[in-house]
Structure formats: C-alpha cells, structure tokens
C-alpha cells in the first residue's frame, strides 16, 4: 500500500483578515511506499498536519490529488478511506471503556462479536494493556492512553497509519520508550505509515525517510543521515540539528574537490553540487560536533584560532561558544569527563574534517 500526494494545495480563509487567505499546503507532492515509515518534519504552522489531515480526509484539498494504493481517494469521505490516525490528544472516547474504544473500528466494519472479542484481546496484549479492558479512559496514565489510541488504530488493519505528533504529550523518558515501541510495532506489522512531528530527534530515530516542510512546501526528502549530512538549503540545515555557517570563496573547482578560501585559509571539500563557480561565495555548513578543539600551542597551518566565550557543561557533552575574530561559533565536544573542560577566556585552536563540510550557495537572506 502506498500513499501519494500529487501537487496538493490547501488554501484556508484567514479568520483575522476578511477576504484574506492562507496557503497552508502549497503544491506538495510526496510518496510513502509500502511498509515504509515516513516522517513529515517541520516547525508548527508548516502545513505538515494539514497534509496529514488531507490524507485522512478531514480536509479537502483546494487542488491536487491523494492516491492510496493507486486509488484516487480525494473525494472519499474520511470514514471510507481505511486510514487510521493516532491523534496528538489521543482522542480516546471518554464515555467508552478501553476495550470498547479498541473495538470501535471493528464494529464499524460489521465484524462479529466473537471476532471482535478475540482481536481486541490479541491487540491489547500486543500493546501491553492486557487486563485493563474494562477501565475507563480517565483511569489510565498518559502512556496507557497512548497505547489505547495505538491499539484502536492498528486493530482495523488500515491501509495507512497516520500519526499526528502522538508522543508530544508524554514526558521525555516515556517519549523515548514509546518511540521505540511504535517503531517496533510498525516494523512488525509492516503498515505504511506517515508520522508528523516537529521533534527532529524523534524523526531521526523513527523514520525510514524524512520529509522536511516549511511554509507549506516540501524542503527536502531523504533518509535521516542524508538530510543531516547534506541539507538541501539553509532552512533544513538550521532546523535539523545545530549548525555553524562559514563563508568561503570558491577558488578552484576540480572534478571531485572544490577548493575554497575561508578567512585566508585554503580548504578542500568534496564536490557536492555543480552550481558553484570559481569566484562565487559559498556557505560552509559545519556541524558543531565535528569541530575539534585544542588549547593553543603555537599556530600551525590548517587550524583556526579563537577565544572561548562561554562553556555549558551538559554531562555527556560540553558546549563551547567560541569567538572567532568576531564570528560566534558553536562547538560540541564529547566526554568532558575524559577530556576535561576548557575554561572561559582561553585561546583555543580548532579544526574540522573537510569531508564533513557541506556547501550551499551563499544567500544573505538566510533562505539558502
């Protein structure tokens, strides 16, 4: 079962300005292949939830098509689509018990009583809720409610499983635990899934692929590693993890390497894009954890020198804010227990492996 959005646009009326309109989703095309878990990632208001709701049928697209398993469902009402959604608020029916909640979808499909009973039993065991059948929802903890919502969604064996920030109401530890369980369950049942979140760590941990959205448009789609290592633009780079932007001038474009001049120092990085010409200014994306720091012991070639302005100790890592001749830089170093902490005000030499640097054309407005 695959899900395809073809050039889908959704325009809402703007409640604040009479006659005004908002393009919540703007020409989005995407595909989720059979059994895949794809995450829609973006800041709030980027259109990811609207896209999800269009697939579920809660919103009609202003333009474009939705295909599930090759069938155009754009005009199908939500109840006929056989998608199952796990809601941010869980949306558990407060007047029904746990097993009544889970059984609801099967009842709607006219399953027999016996079948319902046995499948509800099986699914509750699967999600670890056996024995709580007759509880009413308000007697459950947040994590348990989450499991009910999950069980209720998967019991109908939907064509697509849709997650709308399902873990955002849980505390940090439980969130990480549930994240793992969701992934395990999805793999085991091999249900095609689309997962909406604004939490990039969650997206990284869960997804086969990530689709980053902003302002109603798809910014980039790809495997987590690819998106982290080679963001398509400045927005993606900034939104996923943290990043330092350096500027450099292209001096030489070779077949597999580009040489740039960064603050008077020459740097060779692997070629990633063909649109950089000699003389152009490029942005260099340097992830903080790739920066290696060392106390200054004389200046050698290939290293930069800056001053430690601020040190934040986080346990497993330490963050350093470094003033590099007026440009602030962020560096993260691992295991301070082993390496010790630098002190504020210290002069520090730093370096980063050219292979981890990613290039983008320079755009002063920041949109990449």
């Amino acid at each position: 079962m695959s899900v395809v959005l073809e050039n889908v646009t959704k325009v809402f009326e703007d409640g604040q300005r009479p006659g005004g309109h908002v393009r919540a989703v703007d020409g989005v095309s995407l595909e989720v292949s059979d059994g895949e878990l794809v995450t829609l990632l973006g800041p709030s208001g980027c259109g990811k939830t609207t896209a999800l709701r269009i697939i579920a049928g809660f919103e009609t697209p202003t333009a474009g098509r939705v295909l599930i398993d090759g069938q155009d469902v754009s005009r199908l009402p939500p109840h006929a689509r056989n998608t199952a959604m796990v809601f941010q608020s869980y949306a558990i029916f407060p007047h029904l018990t746990v097993s009544q909640n889970v059984a609801f979808g099967l009842q709607m499909r006219g399953a027999s009583k016996d079948e319902i009973a046995s499948r509800v039993q099986a699914i509750l065991e699967l999600v670890g809720l056996a024995g709580l059948q007759h509880r009413s929802p308000e007697q459950l903890s947040g994590g348990q409610q989450q499991r009910v919502a999950l069980a209720r969604a998967i019991i109908t064996e939907p064509r697509v499983l849709l997650f709308d920030e399902p873990l955002s109401n849980l505390d940090a530890k439980l969130r990480e635990q549930m994240r793992g369980e969701v992934r395990k369950l999805q793999r085991r049942l091999a249900i095609t899934s689309l997962y909406v979140t604004h939490d990039q760590a969650e997206a990284m941990a869960l997804s086969d692929r990530i689709i980053v959205m902003n302002a109603g448009r798809v910014q980039q789609a790809g495997a987590p590693l690819e998106i982290y290592a080679r963001p398509a633009n400045r927005f993606v780079a900034d939104f996923i993890g943290r990043v330092n932007f350096l500027h450099g001038q292209v001096r030489e474009v070779g077949p597999d390497r580009i040489r740039l001049d960064v603050r008077g120092r020459s740097l060779e990085v692997p070629v990633q894009r063909a649109d950089l010409r000699v003389g152009a200014v490029a942005s260099l994306l340097v992830r903080p954890e790739t920066i290696r720091l060392a106390p200054v012991q004389g200046t050698g070639p290939g290293t930069f020198v800056g001053t430690v302005r601020r040190v934040t100790y986080l346990g497993p890592t330490a963050e350093y804010e470094i003033d590099w001749d007026g440009t602030p830089l962020l560096a993260v170093s691992g295991s301070p227990l082993e390496h010790g902490l630098l002190s504020e005000g210290a002069r520090v030499a730093f370096d980063f492996p050219a292979a981890t640097v990613h290039l983008l054309p320079h755009a002063p407005d920041g949109t990449g």
């Binding site: 809660f58 407060p94 979808g105």
Partner: protein, 566 residues
C-alpha cells in the same frame, strides 16, 4: 471579495458538495433540515411580511403609514423598547449579583439561593402577573399590609418592570454563572497576588472579563422582554401599551390580520437588531470561550462585610421569589384567591375535571416537541460546527432566527402560512408541535454549540477515521458526550413549551388545547383559583419532568454528567 476569492469559494463549495454526494445520508439530512427550516421558520415570516405589504392585493405601505402615524402605536413602540432596556439592565444586574455571589463567596444557604435564581424560569403566564398584583397592588400584601402604602400604582411601567425582571433575571443568571465559572479563580488570584485589592481585582479583572457575557445577557433579556405577552397584557393597561400585546389585540380584538401583521413586523425590528448585535458583535468579543473544566472559584473575592451585603441582597430577592410562588400556592388552595383564603381542594377538583384534556394535550405536545427540539438542536450545532457544506452559515442563522422573533409574530405567521391546503395544519397537534419545535431549537443549538466547543474535535475525527459515517459518529460519539448540554437544552425547551403562550394562543383549537391557554381563559372567565391551581399543576409537572428527563438520559447513555439545572 475579489473575483479570485469568489472563484475559490465556488470551487470549495463544489468540492464540499461532491463530498456530500458520497455521504448520501448526510446530504439527505441537510436537505431535509433546510426544507423544514424554510417551511416552518422563513415561510411564516415571509407570509407576515407579504400580508402587511399587500393589504389589498397590491403593494402598499399604507398599513405602516397608518400605524406609525398613530400616536398610540408610536407610544407602544417606545414603551416596548424602554421596557426592554430597563428589564435588560435590571435583570442582568440581579443575575450578575446572584452569579457572583454564588460562585465567588462562601455564604450559607447557597442551594436555596440557587433554587430562587432558577425557579422563575417556570413562570406560569397571567397568574404570575396576578400574584404581583396581590403582592404589590392597591390591596397588596407587601405594599398595603407591610408598608401601609395606599394607592400604589402597579399598572404601567413600574409593575411591569417588577414582573419582567423577576421573570427574566434567571436567564441572565445562568449565562453569567457559566462565564464566571469558566473564568475560574486563578486570574483574580493573580491580580491580588500582584497587589490589587479585592475591589480593584473585581473592577479591573473580573468585570472586564465578564463584559461580553453581560452584554450578551443584556441583549437576550431585551429580546425576551420585548416579546413578553402575559405580563403586559395584565399589568400594562392602556396607559402603558406595548407592541407585543397590540399585535395580539389588533388581530383578536380588531379583526385586523394585515394590521396585526404590520405591527408584528414593526415589533420584529428592535428584536432582530438586538439579535444581530448579540450574534455578530458581542459573541466575537468573547474573551473566554468555554474550554476546559470549571476550575474551583476563589472565595476570597469579597471581604466578609461585602459577602454579607451580597448575601442580604440575594436573600431579599430570593425571599421575594419564594413569596411570589407561595402566593400562587395559596391561590390554588383558596376558596376565592385574594378575598377568601379558606383552604379547599375545590380548585384542583375543577381543574382536573375540566382541564384534564388540556393537561394531556399539553403533555403530548411538550413531550413530543422538546426531545425533537433538543435532538435537532444538537444535530444542527454538530453540522454547523463540525461539518462543512455550502449554506452552513445560512442553516445556523435561520435555525436560531426564531429566537429573535416574538411569539405573537410567529403565531400570526403560522396561522397565515398553514391555514390553507395543502398546508392545512391549523387545528392540529402538528402545528403546535412544529411551533414549539422550531421556536426552541435555538436553545438546543446554543447549548449544543457550547457543549461541542468543550469536546476535542479529534474525538469525532477519530470515529470517522475508524469508519463511522457522519450520522453514526453523531449518534455513537457526539450525542453521548453532549448529554449535559442536551439535558439543559431539553429542560429549557420543555419548560418553555409548557409555559409559553404568545404564539400558542393563535394555534390552539378545541381538539388541541394547552394549559397556558386554559390559564388565560380561566383568568378571563374569573376562575382565579382554578387558574392558580392550573399553574401549580404546571409547575409540578415541569419539576417531575425534569426529574424524569434526568433519569432517562442517565440510563440511556450510561454516562456521568453534571446537571446544569435544578
């Protein structure tokens, strides 16, 4: 709106319609609703308008010219508006007093005060006005016996104001209590935490936050007061004519249906203006939409001295309310109410003999109309808030329009619209049921909407997502969750169906008569004790019905709900 937006709107409408095509049952339901609303709300109003505009078969403003040229009618119009404003101010003030005292202080006797603040919703027409005369008239218990006043002029504005404030303040109370409860106490706590005195916290935080609610209560009371018929018929006198009574008398006393229709249209104007202001201006300015559970209110909002002052004020009003009902009770058990108070069962014997049919008819009509009104109200609220289809706003607007239309206007509209084949309904139970049904839908819609706003839409989406069609979602999920709202809507429309008179008086027949009309005719015929006994029965039936409704709903939906009434 530019061409682009029109095109977009058109596009959206077409898409919405297409989707409806795939939910045929929903489409049928919407079409049926539209049909019913057009037939039973817009068509009668249109008939009133046409009859008044085509008095001799040709278009003419003659009737309006004549009526507005009359000093008497102009006076009646001004009186209606003045009365509406004064009742609104007085009733809202007392309503706020009760709402504030009951939510923000810890005085004793709260349950009794709550009862006194709600009981006047059940106010039997005419008999209430008689009780006012017996308490405050020339020979009144309070004016003459207690205060020793001679010739206290009860007729006219003073007596009418008293009666209307007493009758309508509970509506303001219920609105404002809801607002004060949803405000919770944390804002006032925060204000006092920041150094505000109690009075400053009240003036700078509580009151401004209540303003939209207050404005809303004012307008609703204004509409109710303008439409009121029973009180001014008895207490107005010709020295203080009001329009609602003039409409009735124009038709029944002067045999002038077109003139009555024209007056009805004139009466409609201030009412509809107030309605539109309430809907499109005040409700937009609402700071607090009902969203979570009511939090525990602070009880530090008033100093002990002020608390006792509030208690005294509420107590006085409550005493007054109870006295008022005691007066009616005494009347029901007296040989000659107001003259000879020897206890007797005679009145009840008479009422149960002569009025048995009317009691039965009233029950049939009310028991049929109020659940339908409650159910339809919930359905419309659901469709208006949770579904998209072309004409959704129109549906909502038309269905609550009748709230702004005074009963006399509706009554005239109904006899005009339904006295000819193929729509010959006059004289049947159907016309009475339809009248109450469409008259009290707005109550159901309003409470349904308030209820829906408290229910996360995702809960219903989850149901559709799991394969439930719109009707199934409504029945299995929404309706059970709306039980509290449904309950209060049901109770309110039942109470109104039992006590309303202004429209019904045009629609009753020998086959189908109502208790309220019986109360009027017993009053007219001079059997005051019988009228009082009818009223007592009416109140008892309503109280019993509220208990029954509660029991049935509790059983039916197996869902714990908070009672919002009684």
């Amino acid at each position: 709106m530019g061409i682009q937006s029109v095109a977009r709107w058109w596009d959206q409408s077409v898409r919405d319609l297409r989707r409806l095509r795939d939910e045929p049952l929903l489409l049928v339901a919407i079409a049926a609703l539209f049909g019913l609303l057009l037939l039973f709300i817009l068509y009668p109003l249109a008939r009133v308008l046409t009859v008044s505009l085509f008095p001799d078969g040709a278009f003419s403003l003659r009737l309006y010219g004549q009526l507005l040229g009359s000093w008497f009618i102009r006076q009646a119009f001004l009186n209606s508006v003045a009365m509406g404003i004064l009742t609104a101010v007085g009733g809202t003030a007392i309503g706020f007093l009760f709402a504030f005292t009951l939510t923000r202080t810890d005085i004793p006797g709260k349950s009794l005060l709550t009862l006194a603040a709600i009981l006047p919703i059940i106010s039997p027409p005419f008999v209430s006005a008689l009780a006012i005369i017996l308490l405050f008239g020339n020979n009144g218990l309070i004016t003459r016996q207690l205060l020793g006043l001679q010739e206290f002029a009860i007729y006219g504005m003073r007596g009418l104001l008293l009666a209307q404030v007493l009758t309508f303040f509970p509506v303001a109370y219920l609105t404002l209590r809801g607002v004060l409860e949803s405000l919770g106490g944390s804002l006032e706590d925060a204000a006092m935490n920041l150094g505000a005195t109690r009075w400053k916290a009240f003036r700078r935080v509580t009151l401004p936050l209540c303003l939209p609610g207050i404005a809303s209560a004012l307008l609703v009371l204004f509409i109710e007061s303008i439409a009121d018929f029973g009180n001014p018929l008895i207490l107005g006198g010709s020295g203080f004519p009001v329009l609602s009574v003039q409409v009735y008398l124009q038709v029944t006393g002067m045999y002038d249906l077109p003139g009555g229709a024209a007056l009805a249209v004139i009466l409609l104007v201030p009412s509809v203006i107030a309605f539109l202001v309430q809907r499109y201006w005040v409700s937009r300015k609402r700071y607090v939409t009902v969203s979570g559970k009511p939090t525990r209110a602070v009880i530090r909002a008033a100093s002990p001295g002020v608390q006792w002052l509030l208690f005294a004020a509420c107590g006085a009003v409550a005493l007054f309310v109870l006295l008022f009902y005691a007066t009616i009770l005494v009347g029901a058990f007296s040989r000659a109410w107001g003259a000879d108070h020897t206890p007797t069962w005679r009145n009840f014997g008479y009422v149960l003999g002569v009025g048995a049919q009317a009691i039965q008819d009233t029950l049939i009509v009310a028991v049929t109309a109020s659940p339908l009104a409650g159910f339809l109200g919930m359905a419309i609220a659901f469709l208006a808030i949770r579904r998209r289809f072309p004409g959704r706003r129109a549906l909502e607007f038309i269905s609550i329009l009748n709230f702004a239309v005074p009963g006399t206007v509706i009554g005239i509209g109904y006899i005009l619209a339904f006295n000819q084949r193929p729509l010959l309904l006059t004289g049947t139970a159907t016309i009475l049921i339809a009248n109450f049904l469409f008259r009290y839908i707005p109550v159901g819609i309003q409470s349904g909407m308030a209820g829906l706003r408290q229910i996360d839409p995702a809960i219903e989406e989850a149901a559709t997502n799991l394969g439930a069609s719109t009707p199934v979602t409504f029945r299995r999920i929404t309706l059970p969750l709306l039980v509290p709202a449904f309950f209060s809507g049901l109770v309110f429309s039942f109470v109104r169906a039992m006590t309303a008179i202004s429209a019904a008086i045009f629609l009753v027949s020998a086959d189908w008569n109502l208790m309220t009309v019986q109360i009027l005719s017993q009053t007219e015929a001079g059997r005051l004790g019988a009228a009082a006994a009818f009223s007592v029965l009416l109140i008892l039936i309503i109280l019993a019905a509220i208990g029954t409704i509660r029991l049935i709903l509790g059983q039916f939906f197996e869902y714990r709900y908070q009672a919002t009434f009684g």
